[in-house]
Symmetry: C2
Subunit: 367 residues, 2 copies
């Protein structure tokens, strides 16, 4: 059947453009998922994921499914029926965590704020005080539906003072903005590959602290998912014997290996700085065109720009023109913001001044 | 980090060699997962999966994770706590189904036979009679751990006479041996991409009959997995509105599109015939070398050859020599057969006389 997808400029909420090295890695002939060379590649990937998460966590690996499955991996392994947990909700992905935690049989205490705002530390403290035995507190570091960057360090301290686990969604922040798993005391974290890492979507790097591993090892019930059961998966990724669990997505892991290598060649700090400076460049141009930001400057993600369009502009029409006349993809709003905002991503390989100039030029033509 | 995997000849239980068109599809620049062109590609893939399953089932799509997640998708959606099900076990994958069904809170009646044998229709009839309200019967069509091809048609009738759903694991049979979902009355089926389809591992095509959809729509409890919940995923793959669920693994779907196209260009019947005739070619050479088959001729899979080695041969040593001296991968035994058999795959692009001759030539040198 005919297959000829049009090349696009990807400036939505992900996937972002992939580096040619990453694309070429996927075109490599396959090797077996238990081949000693593949096991070495898995080890390399694990080491590089640890570096990018800034963690020493031994239980660090990659879930063979997209970011949402990483979210589910964290929750189904750490929660059991009857457990209490606290979930911060200020967008689509906090809501999703609450939905999954509920399916784990946990009692979910929601800390909800207006979309586009952060969860304040005091709110988490209050929620913890109102709980009898809170096992886990989960927050979204970079809410992809609103472009909010949630401060984590102060809340982490509050969570640990209450003897709870601190879980974080880092899908859109990983390798784009500062994220320090060990320094910030994060116990469980998951991310995706198709944002600031600029690998194809489909995998979810995750990491668990020793505290989280202890909780996992002391479960009373079996993990409800076989595919995501860390007791099984960890032996495939880290066991001395490499017990077969499932067939790893070999080509996607090849791509991930190259994407992580590219991040570390650039250096995390330089990469964060690049996202920051290209964000400023984009912001200036967007504001000149009449766009305005949803999120207060202090809490804005540099890489995911949630913006209101200039007065009177038909967002769906212009977004379609951008795609069809200029091959540029930007994202529309999700959930409460559908039809109301755009989400402009400058992530990984899509985070260059050239990308910004292409977008600004096209918008100048259309508007 | 250094990335230079050695090209291998893949003749194990999967992945198999991929066609250059498939590899090149993955090297295409990414497009957005909600791009109209990607939606068209998803529609094409759905249509081609229907053709390859030989089904009209509307609820046919591709799970964004490997075959084991396809298995879990079928079970978590069709079973609820307290349901009774019957699982045929004659190898690793039947055992895995029972494990997952158990995690769904179902009462699992196991029909177990010696590994390497088929499940007889009479055994399923007896198990159904012994059950008060059997909701589902699950069998493995092609047991990858033993090379057994399980006859399905007669059992399907027995299952439906008892008003149960018939679920089938077709990971290793899909596009390699006859498999007729509608004609055989299969209600839920899953497969993988890395066997006779010769795409990279990581995705799981699935299909559900109208009967299965009714069961799904009449559940009393929520599906325990959010990621695998068909009520959500179906709106992403088939809904008029294409509700965002997760980010599809774009590049892997590109590869799948090309792999399915190649299958349909060859034609299913021709492909089955090719696997059959190359199997005979392989069998002759293996028997000359002193190998003998585990499974009775009548129930042998042509594409996955489970064989005992010639007397006195150190299987692990020879397997390692094949890999390191000839870059040929064959599979070792799993579970009860670890260290005892080899599993030689001739699947998809790895199913050629040239592959057989490379293997036979190398074995002739080593033995």
């Amino acid at each position: 059947m005919n297959f000829n997808p049009t090349p696009r400029i990807l400036m939505g909420p992900g996937p972002s453009d992939a580096h040619p090295r990453v694309l070429q890695a996927m075109a490599r002939p396959l090797i077996g998922h238990l081949d000693p060379e593949f096991v070495q590649i898995m080890d390399d990937v694990k080491g590089m994921v640890q570096q990018c998460f800034m963690t020493q966590n031994h239980l660090t690996f990659v879930v063979s499914a997209p970011g949402s499955a990483g979210m589910e991996t964290c929750l189904v392994n750490l929660l059991e029926p009857g457990d209490e947990c606290i979930i911060g909700i200020n967008g689509v992905f906090g809501r999703r965590m609450a939905n999954i935690a509920n399916r784990c049989g946990a009692t979910v205490h929601k800390v909800e704020v207006e979309w586009g705002k952060i969860i304040e530390p005091s709110m988490i403290r209050e929620a913890l005080n109102a709980c009898s035995n809170p096992k886990l507190v989960a927050l979204v570091h970079a809410e992809t539906s609103t472009g909010v960057r949630q401060p984590l360090k102060e809340i982490s301290q509050i969570v640990h003072d209450a003897n709870s686990l601190f879980m974080v969604d880092a899908v859109t922040s990983f390798c784009g903005v500062p994220l320090k798993v060990d320094e910030w005391g994060i116990d469980a974290i998951y991310t995706g590959t198709q944002k600031c890492l600029s690998a194809p979507p489909g995998l979810s790097p995750v990491s668990f602290s020793e505290r989280a591993v202890k909780v996992l090892e002391n479960r009373n019930s079996e993990v409800q998912s076989w595919f995501l059961d860390l007791n099984l998966v960890r032996n495939y990724w880290s066991g001395a014997k490499r017990a077969y669990h499932h067939t790893a997505p070999v080509s996607s892991v090849f791509a991930l290996h190259q994407a992580l290598s590219i991040v570390l060649e650039e250096g995390l700090e330089s990469r964060w700085e690049r996202h920051h400076s290209v964000h400023n460049y984009l912001k200036q141009q967007l504001e000149q065109l009449g766009f305005s930001y949803l999120v207060d400057e202090e809490y804005r993600l540099p890489n995911l720009n949630a913006v209101f369009l200039p007065e009177g502009v038909d967002e769906a029409k212009v977004r379609s023109q951008l795609l069809h006349e200029f091959n540029i993809e930007v994202g529309g709003g999700l959930g409460a913001f559908a039809g109301k905002i755009w989400r402009i991503g400058i992530m990984g390989e899509s985070c260059t001044r050239n990308h910004v100039n292409m977008l600004a030029g096209a918008l100048g033509e259309i508007l």
